[in-house]
Amino acid sequence: MQITVIGAGVAGLVTAVTLAERGAAVTLHECSESLGANAASWLAGGMLAPFCEAESADPAIVAPGLAAIDWWAERVPGVTRQGTLVVAPPRDAGEVQRFGRRTRQGLPLDADGIAALEPDLAARFAGGLHFAAEAHLDPRRALLALSERLQALGGCLRLSSPLEPETAAGDVVVDCRGIAGAADDLRSVRGEMLILRTPDVRLSRPVRLLHPRIPVYVVPRADKLFMVGATMIESEAEGPVRLRSAVELMNAAYALHPAFAEAEVVEMRAGRRPAFPDNLPRVTRKGRIVSVNGLYRHGFLLSPDCAARAADLAFGPAQTREIAA
């Protein structure tokens, strides 16, 4: 079966690889000149944190989210299974209890427990939670690894190749364009992030800093890099990071560890997350066009499940079906 996938963000790459693994002849078309240049997932945190995300998302994301950790670990390098640490500044300590009540699997930690996991955070926080089953990856390395895997499976990646699903070739066309897919009730939720570099802080796992107004996370990456994210703004606006957001993110990093004050600001960028009104993804088929969209802030967490559903629809009967992850 000849399948055309449009959009090489995380949804498109995971879908293309999944289809190729099931034996389809896949061509993946991406409108931008380089991988990730136009993708929300290039700016993602790369946290595979279904339990933490379920604090504010539908609990239905937990099972496919846990399965996604194995999916990624089997296909890309650098999936780190060290869990997630959740802490709160002293004046917001009550937020940790609240977070624990709203989630499952969080192991309560005292200051010694936090120090045992993250020695650099010793004596900085009185209490926290450890979600040991969670993991993280570096989104950019993961996306590049997937594009190599796609090609190793005989698939083809065409950059600088904008396509409309209606006119694309193939027995089936999978539309993974995200915001550009412009479904009726799709909206964009703007997110802003930074990447910092410092040799003075060492973390082994993503740390979420709870705050009643601006919860943020810091994700360690290779080469002394840290990703700090992310704002959530109901806006279609593209364009550079706003100072207010930058200040909030930087303050959070500084509150986590004062040594971040000396970090280099390597990158500051804004992207747009595609989301439906319930903030859950949709996988649908109409005629020969399958759509995967609305991954919101769960691109890496939910794309393996969405891709499996998209593949079922691609290989299955050509009828309109809707599956919410």
Partner: protein, 261 residues
């Protein structure tokens, strides 16, 4: 409940930020029975109407939108935001917030009065987020404000009514004005208490948005606001120091050998 020249059945107003999803927000609005929701206008979303998709989702529920100037720390910022909001939402209403302190998010009353005067003169109908300070309230009324929104306690603190005495005094001082307790609600009984004090309405946001089950909590607040209002209008008893039996004691048959000791 009267807001300038319009009358509403529901006395509960909801915020729209920080819900788990727009769908849950819509469900919560329906469950709350609210006829008015407040929407904060971030200027980055106002430029080229970048927040339009989200605003459309709210409008689809059929409620009236009360734009607010949340997060504005100066008169100029608040006035500019109000002007943008008038254009974006096509309403003369503005819930005016001029924040004076980053920790407590309490209003800058001096800036609030100034911004109220500027906006009232420009044809806005101002709903001022204020404290229970009576002098500030007088100044706001002089500046043209007809709906005062004193805080229950700091925004998002879930502490309920910090100063019942002050809120009662404000109600007594402005019997004709529309008074709405805004901010600080945590649980439904907080809203009931505000309504029992004779307030015209309650505005709350995070108490519902950040609850584990926002839709259920929205319904709980709907009921509590109704209960408090019914209680207030039913002319409740005043507290007293001694028991008052509901049946007369004198002449009651005395059983056994109990006698007046």
């Amino acid at each position: 409940m009267r807001i300038y020249d319009e009358t509403f059945t529901s006395r509960l107003m909801l915020g729209t930020a920080r819900y788990p999803s727009p769908q849950i927000l819509k469900d919560a609005i329906v469950a709350s029975g609210a006829e008015i929701v407040t929407v904060s206008l971030r200027r980055e979303a106002a430029g080229e109407r970048a927040g339009q998709r989200f605003w459309d989702l709210i409008r689809d529920t059929g409620v009236k939108v009360l734009p607010n100037t949340a997060g504005c720390h100066s008169v100029r910022e608040a006035v500019t935001t109000a002007e943008m909001a008038r254009e974006v939402f096509g309403t003369r209403w503005i819930k005016l917030e001029v924040i004076g302190d980053a920790d407590t998010l309490q209003p800058d009353l001096f800036g609030l009065v100034e911004a109220t005067r500027i906006l009232s003169n420009d044809g806005f109908q101002v709903l001022a987020y204020t404290t229970e300070d009576l002098v500030a309230a007088d100044r706001l009324v002089e500046a043209g404000c007809r709906v005062l929104m004193p805080w229950g306690s700091p925004i998002g603190s879930a502490r309920g009514l910090n100063n019942v005495y002050g809120l009662r005094a404000m109600r007594a001082r402005f019997p004709e004005l529309t008074l709405i307790v805004d901010a600080g609600m945590g649980v439904p009984s907080h809203a009931s208490t505000a309504m029992e004090l004779g307030y015209d309405g309650v505005l709350l946001s995070s108490a519902v948005a950040l609850a584990g089950d926002p839709v259920r909590m929205a319904r709980a607040f709907r009921l509590s606001v109704e209960a408090g209002r019914l209680g207030f209008t039913a002319d409740p008893l005043q507290p007293r120091d001694f028991a008052e039996p509901s049946t007369p004691v004198l002449g009651q048959a005395l059983l056994g050998d109990t006698v007046f000791a």
